[in-house]
Amino acid sequence: MGHMIRNEPSLSLHIPQPKCRPGDRVDFSTLDLPAAGEARRPDVDTHPDEMHDMAYGLIRVLDDEGRAVGPWDPKLDGQTLRKGLRNMLLTRIFDDRMYRAQRQGKTSFYMKCTGEEAISCAQSLVLHHDDMCFPTYRQQGMLISRGYPIVDMMNQIYNNARDPLKGHQLPILYSARDYGFFTISGNLGTQFPQAVGWAMASAYKGDSRIASAYIGDGSTATMDFHHALTFAAVYRAPVLLNIVNNQWAISSFQGIAGGEATTFAARAIGYGLPALRVDGNDFLAVHAATEWAAERARSNRGATVIEFYTYRVAGHSTSDDPSKYRPADEAEKWPLGDPIERLKQHLIVRGEWSQEDHQALEAELDAEVRAAAKEAESIGTLGKSMPSPKAIFEHVFKEPDWRHIRQRQEAGI
């Protein structure tokens, strides 16, 4: 049977494409970036229907000169800001060191969070130590900020005899219950609704702890994302639903996840949830937005969706080569700058930091990471040292069943 011929235009299929590919001149001129200080700050008890504009704007506090401006200025003291700067810098130095370690064959895999440090490091200052974070693999800054020993992160990355996860998990998929850091899955998106369940449990028990969940722009397409927003809205769960929009999901730009048509923050509107859209490279803006959402959650007003607008400076992982799909200089042209440089500039403008202070801190943190690496490597790098192979059969269940006992015997372990 043939098609009927009609006098109508042919349909065409739209495949989203990023503006620039390798070799193109980077052009961010079409990005709509409101000026720092421009976004209004609704009261924490504002009804979600009365703040739809916040899902399309951008909360920015630091202006181009490094001054804190507008109603979202969290008015933090110098000591707090220096702590945040230190945590961001330590995260970056740690990342660089472990990236090199992978290149040197000391481990199989690594993922950096370069450019995204402000998100986890600023949030850590707002959230309580016993609030639970449900991270992706790019929130190592949270673990570092919460004081988890970096040598144990390295032991995990090397899967050596002191690996806290006993060799069970891919490098960087940490777990640290005592630091409010939920075991990282590696399957994208699954933690988002789990965080909602954890928050529901806290509310069920009448406790005061809240959860903070993370997901990338790409993974907002998963069913887990929509489950999380649905359940969070239905049960008014005390949870922060953070979308880290770093523009890239491996090689797919955010338009492939639906970012062309609207913002990721705007997803919240259909669920009746409040949304904030935040400059993710602005430490102060991240801090202020997180405080707003945390206060809302703690006062039993439920969840907030926060889109952190940022840029993934590094490759997706050590297995990725971003020069194959985006211009090499795209990262340095990102119009919202670098979170560490911007906070540093702000502290200098305030007269609470100097170039010399910064260099001294860099040297100190570099030595700290170097010492930790030396300690971890003295135990062993991947394959040179490992936990007891008995661990293969442990923690499948609380107690091994006959299969684990029998298979362990068969393996001669």
Binding site: L165, S185, T190, M200, A201, D224, H395, W402
Partner: protein, 337 residues
């Protein structure tokens, strides 16, 4: 002691656990005010309040995911998936998450959730209300899978599952909810009150996970079954005149290897019965275990009587459903050798 249907026994198990442990809660589609489409959670919301037994959105993946988060907090959620046929949207959360959280965190986090779901055929439910997906859970390390065959076991096993610190898939043979069923669909329906296993203590007791039960001793052939097929197997043995030893596995992971091996070594023959499709069904695993552990005691090839490798066809309920006639034929084949 009280006389209970399987529905009442399961309800009693949750009631007992909610009474004993404030961390036990019940959630699922229609389980709250209405009490579930099969009435298994009836009265729990009224007795324990809105937050302890509540309705969820129609999102099985979201139900299991939030239950996992609750489990990590220290809650023991008992989740109802309305039909096992609807469990697949939750498969990723069960397989990649619930089953792995203890292992991947080196024992730091765990997830004591119980996922209840009516399963199996014999109710004219067609392909979306009759499936038996137990093997796809049995294949996953980190999940336990339990299937009761009568009210007494249902209550004791459900309590054991809720108290277990690992995730348990609890499949309820929905054809057995209101009475035992031996496959003779042409005969009058029998209520549980006429069956000795409907005598159920009203208080707390446990039927341990991983322990099978010999429901009929015999010397000629071992029949391995679970769920509705236990009753079908008993009928087939009785009608065949063959002295079959019928074992109700009750838990398929971990399976009671000792009970299976002891019985097959005694009888030298083995017939495996399940409703699920044959290929890579749990019967394949049972057959392999029997062969590995009892080969020199076997006097005949192991027989499997299972669902056909097709979707469940609505119009052909009784042609598809494994009834006593097919089991008798298998018993007779193994006795020929």
């Amino acid at each position: 002691m009280a006389t209970m249907t399987m529905i009442q026994a399961l309800n009693s198990a949750m009631d007992v656990m909610m009474e004993r442990d404030p961390n036990v809660l019940v959630m699922g589609e229609d389980v709250g005010y209405f009490g579930g489409v099969f009435r298994v959670t009836e009265g729990l919301q009224k007795k324990y309040g809105l937050t302890r037994c509540f309705d969820t959105p129609i999102a099985e993946g979201g139900i299991v995911a939030t239950a996992i988060g609750m489990g990590a907090y220290g809650i023991r959620p008992v989740v109802e998936i309305q039909f096992a046929d609807y469990i697949f949207p939750a498969y990723d959360q069960l397989v990649s998450e619930a089953a792995r959280i203890r292992y991947r965190s080196g024992g730091e986090f765990w997830c004591p959730i119980t996922v209840r779901s009516p399963y199996g055929g014999g109710i004219f439910g067609g392909q979306t209300h009759s499936q038996s997906p137990e093997a796809i859970f049995a294949h996953v390390s980190g999940l336990k899978t339990v299937i009761p065959s009568n009210p007494y076991d249902a209550k004791g096993l459900l309590i054991a599952s809720i108290e277990d610190d690992d995730p348990v898939i609890f499949l309820e043979p929905k054809r057995l909810y209101n009475g035992p069923f031996n496959g003779h669909h042409e005969e009058a329906v029998v209520p549980w009150s006429q069956h000795p296993m409907s005598e159920v203590p009203e208080d707390h007791y446990v039927v341990p996970l991983g322990k099978a039960k010999i429901v009929r001793e015999g010397g000629d052939v071992t029949v391995l079954a679970y769920g509705t097929m236990v009753h079908v197997a008993l009928a087939a043995v009785a009608e065949s005149g063959i002295d079959g030893e019928v074992i109700d596995l009750r838990t398929i992971v971990p399976v009671d290897i000792e009970a299976i091996v002891a019985s097959v070594k005694k009888t030298g023959r083995c017939v495996i019965v399940h409703e699920a499709t044959r290929t890579a069904g749990f019967g394949a695993e049972l057959s392999a275990l029997v062969q590995e552990n009892c080969f020199y005691h076997l006097e005949a090839p192991i027989e499997r009587v299972t669902g056909y490798d097709t979707p469940y066809p609505h119009a052909f309920e009784w042609e598809y459903f494994v009834g006593p006639a097919r089991v008798i034929a298998a018993l007779e084949r193994v006795m020929e050798d």
